[in-house]
Structure formats: C-alpha cells, structure tokens
C-alpha cells in the first residue's frame, strides 16, 4: 500500500516526523539518483559523495518542504545543483579531480578513449560510454528523462531552460545514441 503512495505524500509524512516514509522514498529513488550522478561524473567515489550530499540536503531542508512541484523535480534539481557546484570547484582546482577534464572532453564530443573503446564491446558498457560522450546539456536531458522519469516541462524546470530547448537537446541526444549504436556493432 505504501508503495502506491505518491512521493509528495511520503515527503510530507517524513516532514511530519515519519521516518518510515523517508525510507520508502529513499528506496524508491536511490538507484535512479545514484545512476544519474554516476553517469554525470563517472567516478564511483565522487558519485557516492555527491549522492549522499543530495540526500543530506533533502533531509536538512525537509521542514521547508511544500508540495509545489513533483518531488522528483525537486530531487533532481538538488542533484544537478550539487553537480554544478562540484564541477565549479573542480574547475577552480583542475588537479582536484579528473572528472572535470573528462567532462570537458565529453562536452567537446571527443573520443571516450581507448580504454572505453575496449569496454564498449559489451553493449551496456558501450551505451554508457556513448551517453558519457554526449554534450553535457544533451546528457543532462537524456538522464533526467531516463533516470528521473521527468517530462519535457519538468526537465525544463530543473535545467532552467525552455521546454522547446529541452526537446531539441533530447532529440539530438536520442538521434546521436541511436546512430552510434547502429553504426558501431
């Protein structure tokens, strides 16, 4: 029964002190959110840290929670903001982490690298590598759609751009991925 309850209702219950509601919420979203982070920064340790930060922020701000939008919109906006902060700090200190360098390479559409090519022989790994090679905006839109299950308008809300822009980015991402999958056996 509790599984059928909406995310918003669970979050409200948690805000009112029901820890069980949070456990359900966490169980429901931990996988997609973790993968969203992992695909974005591609480093397990960093993804774990950022993932944990997002949930901690959610816990600390629970008393201010109001149902104004879908819960996942809030969750992924927090996740994306945390990623932006992380990338900003990484760019301020390039030696801090190699993730930003990877990010720059991905954004420019460069080759994922010889190691990724070897791994890409397996279909799943290959798909992930292709996703990683997408420009950041397109990858953002694709992952928000796939992992967050957000509609175009919700992605637009999370990313702060118009719905048409999101549609265009997503379209480019889908076409590129399909093309790459069909070309590269």
């Amino acid at each position: 029964m509790a599984q059928e309850e909406s995310d918003e209702a669970l979050m409200l219950r948690y805000r009112n002190g029901e820890i069980r509601a949070f456990e359900l919420l966490y169980e429901r979203h931990k996988g997609p959110l973790f993968r969203f982070m992992l695909r974005q920064c591609r480093q397990h340790a960093v993804a774990e840290e950022l993932f944990q930060d997002v949930w901690t922020n959610l816990i600390r701000s629970r008393e201010r929670y109001r149902v104004r939008a879908k819960f996942t919109t809030l969750l992924y906006r927090m996740a994306r903001n945390r990623l932006i902060d992380y990338r900003r700090s990484a760019s301020a200190n390039p030696g801090h982490d190699s993730a930003f360098a990877e990010q720059s390479a991905e954004t420019s559409g460069a080759d994922p690298g010889p190691q990724n090519r070897l791994e890409a022989e397996r279909a799943g790994v290959r798909l992930r590598a292709l996703i990683a090679s997408l420009p950041a905006d397109q990858r953002d839109a694709f992952l928000l759609r796939e992992e967050g299950g957000l509609r175009l308008e919700q992605i637009a809300e999370v990313t702060g751009v118009g719905a048409e822009t999101v549609k265009s980015r997503l379209r480019y991402a889908v076409v590129k991925l399909k093309q790459a999958l069909s070309e590269d056996p």
Partner: protein
C-alpha cells in the same frame, strides 16, 4: 525528406517510452549506491528525526517554564511595589498630614510657653529627634538653641525631613545613620559622633523641662522654620510668630526673611 520524418517518428516513440534505446538503457542500468552509503543516508535521516523529536519534547516545557517564571516575577514585583509604596494605596494619609493635625496644640502650647498650655492636650512624650539625615545640617541651629534660652521653637512638623520620613521615637531610631551607607568609614563615624552629640543635647533639654529647646534640633533648614512662622501668622498667633522669628534670626543670622513675614509681624 524521409530522413527527418523518420527521426521524428523515432523521437516521438522515445517520448512515449516505446523506444529500443530506452529499453536498452534500462536493462543495463542496475547500479545502486553501496550499502555503506545507504546506511549513512538513513542514519542521517534518523539523526535529524531524533533531533526534531528532542526539540519538540524540550521546547514546550522550556517555553512554558520561561513564561511561567516571567509571569511570576512580574506579579511579585507588582505586589511588592504596591505594598512598599503606600502613596499608591487609596485612602492613604501621608505622615505629614498627621503631623499637621497633631502639631498645632502641641506647638501652640510650646510656643506660648506657659499659661496657654492645655492640660487636656499634653505634649507627646515622644521626643521628636532628628532623623539621621538631618543631623549634619542641624549642627549649628541645635547648638545655638541649646546655648540661648528662647522658648520659641518650631514645632516638630517644621522639619521637612520629618515630613518625608517616618519619625521614630529616639529609643526606636535606627542605630546606623544615613551617612553610614557611604563607603567612607570616617564619614560614618563622624556622623555617629554628631548624632550622639545631638541626642545628648536633646536629652539634656528634656531633663531641664525644656523639651521645646530640643525641637529646634529637629529643624532641618531655615525654610521649614519660616514656613512654620507663616503658619503661626495665618493662625493669628502673632506673638508666638514674633518670638519664633527672633529665635530664627539668632539661629540663622544671615538668612533672608521673606518680606511677607516681616510685614506681618513688624508692621504693628
């Protein structure tokens, strides 16, 4: 032309969730956060919840305790002020009014000295000794009064300090003068000496049947004395007023006497 439309169809299918790309992605997307991350997140949630519960159980108590303490303090303060400030009570008759009511017979008998003294209104047995705060400034008049024999003295009421304070009989007077509140030990001992001298003068005067002589010692300043003279004039006790004025001039030779008193007493 067929290219873009094909892409559009594929994209529409993707948006509907009916796309091989989405299926391929979802089949592969199985990564989960490690168990230790799960444990940390849930522990954080539990900690936050426990902190909230603690706040909820403590805050109402501490809040009501503070409110109750504040209300109690205000009530105690208000009651204390009401009790300690008698002027605030309805029907309160200040001490000075009582003096005014009781002093005329006494003053009359004292001022006229002899025949007009009434047997029915004997002078109060209590010797109105000066209050401690008055003593230092009364040194000169009391000294003059004790050396020069003049029956005309202001009544006890003439002392403004007495009007302001509750006057105690000499045996009930506080043992420590007002000057003792000063930190200066010399000032305290000096004040005590003065007080003791004045007390002995008062007692000496009483022994000689000259209670009235002791009364100038209760006069705190010349203004009160002059006020008393005015009262005597108002009551047509001109003789007594003249005697009192003469005494006043002996005690306060340099003090200016109001023209109204001079005219009233010396015009005849």
């Amino acid at each position: 032309m067929s290219g873009p439309s094909e892409k559009d169809r594929e994209f529409d299918a993707y948006l509907r969730g009916d796309s091989p790309l989405s299926k391929a992605y979802k089949e592969d997307a199985r990564e989960l956060p490690p168990a230790h991350v799960d444990a940390q997140v849930l522990a954080e949630a539990h900690r936050a919840d426990a902190g909230r519960r603690k706040q909820l159980t403590r805050n109402p108590f501490s809040g009501s305790w503070m409110v109750a303490a504040s209300v109690t303090a205000v009530v105690i303060l208000a009651v204390s002020v009401a009790v300690l400030l008698p002027e605030g009570r309805p029907g309160y008759e200040p001490q000075r009014e009582r003096f005014e009511d009781t002093t005329p017979p006494d003053a009359e008998s004292t001022l006229t000295g002899k025949s007009r003294q009434r047997a029915s209104t004997p002078a109060p047995e209590t010797v109105y000794a000066p209050s401690p705060g008055v003593m230092e400034s009364d040194e000169t008049p009391s000294g003059a009064a004790s050396t020069e024999a003049s029956p005309v003295v202001p009544a006890p009421r003439a002392a403004p300090a007495l009007e302001q304070t509750y006057v105690l009989p000499k045996e009930a007077q506080p043992s420590v003068p007002a000057a003792a509140s000063r930190p200066d030990a010399d000032a305290v001992s000096d004040s005590l000496r003065k007080r003791s001298r004045a007390q002995s003068r008062i007692e000496a005067a009483g022994e000689e049947g000259l209670e009235s002589r002791a009364k100038p010692a209760a006069v705190s300043d010349s203004d009160a004395w002059l006020e008393r003279i005015k009262i005597l004039i108002d009551r047509d006790q001109l003789e007594a007023a003249r005697e009192s004025l003469a005494e006043f001039r002996r005690v306060y030779p340099g003090t200016r006497v109001p023209q109204g008193i001079i005219e009233a007493l010396e015009s005849d």
